[in-house]
Symmetry: C2
Subunit: 316 residues, 2 copies
């Protein structure tokens, strides 16, 4: 069985033709060109879908990850940030008209979780919390092997869970939420605020003129070379993540956590301190079976999740 | 259809005969006498079940709320605090042997949520979060009209959700969790720490020799008389509750919150500031349909929930 998986971003549209058993058969990426307006982006989506489909038969339809608010029936997207002029778009109907295929849409972090559940480390885990650490912090919840969606489809805004009500703001009114510590821009800023006072540190000279590039991968590389300040910065970020994870687990009683996304590239330097911080704060019964693991699928998780959404919600 | 609902506490066992349509037909309460050991408590449970059953026919079985860890199949209780010597008790089998009735057991805060869903203000609400404010802070989650239980049945430890990782400890390792602000003993202590420095305040002279009695109802009564310090203390507690509620909602996308329990007696002086604090921090899409309401069923919620558990999981 085949489906088209699409990841709609503000900068690029990624798409793949996915076989339910074998995974991605072929994939491509084109610029979103969001500034040219919604009809152009819809045309781009239709174009990329037909492109990856090629001459294959038996394509069940399109699954798509999107920013913005998704309707509970997964056919409509409202007010996606970074896509100017979208307002409310009945995206399934628009794509059906342009391609002939049915389409279902879902929050992109939810699809990363679904992709992990069907094609990644989540395959063996019936209940897990996916935390995506990228520009923002997002998440998806897999409960009894399926997405937990909440009352209106908006569940798992994990980046906006507060760990210190007096803490820093991210881009939301939830002061002291974990995204304000671990969102990539916030983490880079926190890191530079420390390193700028350590001109003897190799990271100082490398990033003094472009400190917004001091990203998790740079910190990871420095940590691998034994840079103690980099290690400490990542450990502090990991501790904050561990505290947020305690909150997720105490609400959900789901004890497996899968980390994905760009910030997760800092790997063990974040994950091990996160584990320690969580184990220190979890109620006793929740400590057994608790674990944090890393999803290696990367960006493909969302596309595979998008195709999985099609497999599971559309029929030929 | 009839069932026996039991609320097993460390001090008292409350029980009622419940009609699925009409609610409680009759109820009673006897001392748990936990110090006399587990077999005695099991005998007490059997005794009180037979007592409320009287000569009624058509009793489907027993539903029971219990402290401790409940097995996923709802037949076994492990290590209930306040019930010495219990270890792991196959409580369904023990009660079947003593009474002939099948029995299912569940966490008491979960049953308060289920009772509200079937007999209380939750009847009209398909998705809600119940927060029980008593000696401790607990909770239950109703999702699509049924209890959300988590991977092992331990979901909704809402009192142990952290709002300030540097905050006070409650009786758990989750430093800065909401129970450390709103658990009755902690709230009383926080209140006295303020009032002890205000000897001109009427609450000072009333409680200077017994400040552990400075409970939410006393604060409510003072607030009703215009006592500004009492109003401020309750408003501060409400703000903290509102912050925790933001965390629940951002994880769950469930926007109706029902408050129950002793501390909730402080009513509007807690609930209104909680609403304000939550609205200030919630992501925009979650503000619509957000509300906090009060459950008036009181202790009966847990017994009605216990009977509902029997109605929904046992067959004649």
């Amino acid at each position: 069985m085949l489906a088209i998986g699409i990841d709609l971003g503000g900068t690029n549209i990624k798409a793949a033709l996915v076989d339910r058993e074998k995974g991605i058969l072929n994939q491509t990426s084109i610029p979103t060109e969001a500034d040219r307006g919604r009809n152009h982006v819809l045309d781009q989506l239709a174009h990329v879908a037909k492109d990856v489909a090629g001459n294959h038969d038996g394509i069940i339809g399109i699954g798509m990850g999107s920013p913005g608010i998704i309707s509970l029936d997964r056919t409509t997207v409202s007010n996606p940030p970074n896509l100017p002029g979208w307002d409310v778009v009945p995206i399934s109907a628009e794509l059906k008209e342009r391609t002939g295929w049915d389409c279902r849409v879902e929050n992109d972090a939810n699809l990363a979780a679904l992709g992990s559940a069907r094609f990644g480390v989540g395959k063996e885990i019936s209940d897990f919390i996916m935390v995506t650490l990228g520009t923002g912090v997002g998440g998806g919840i897999i409960y009894n092997n399926f997405l937990y969606r909440g009352a209106t489809g908006g569940a798992a805004e994990l980046g906006h869970v507060i760990i210190d009500y007096n803490g820093p703001f991210c881009n939301s009114p939830a002061q002291g939420a974990i995204e304000g510590y671990l969102g990539q821009r916030f983490l880079s800023k926190r890191a530079w605020d420390i390193i700028k006072n350590h001109s003897e540190n190799p990271l100082y000279s490398t990033f003094k003129d472009n400190h917004e590039d001091l990203d998790p991968l740079a910190l990871f590389n420095a940590a691998e070379e034994g840079n103690q300040i980099a290690i400490d910065i990542l450990a502090d970020a990991g501790e904050k993540l561990g505290i947020a994870i305690v909150n997720y687990i105490h609400v959900l009683d789901i004890r497996k956590v899968i980390i994905s996304g760009g910030v997760a590239k800092a790997g063990k330097y974040i994950i091990n301190p996160a584990k320690d911080a969580a184990l220190k704060r979890l109620l006793n019964p929740f400590k057994s079976d608790f674990d944090i693991v890393y999803e290696h699928l990367g960006n493909e998780a969302a596309i595979l999740g998008a195709a999985s959404l099609a497999f599971e919600s559309l029929t030929e």
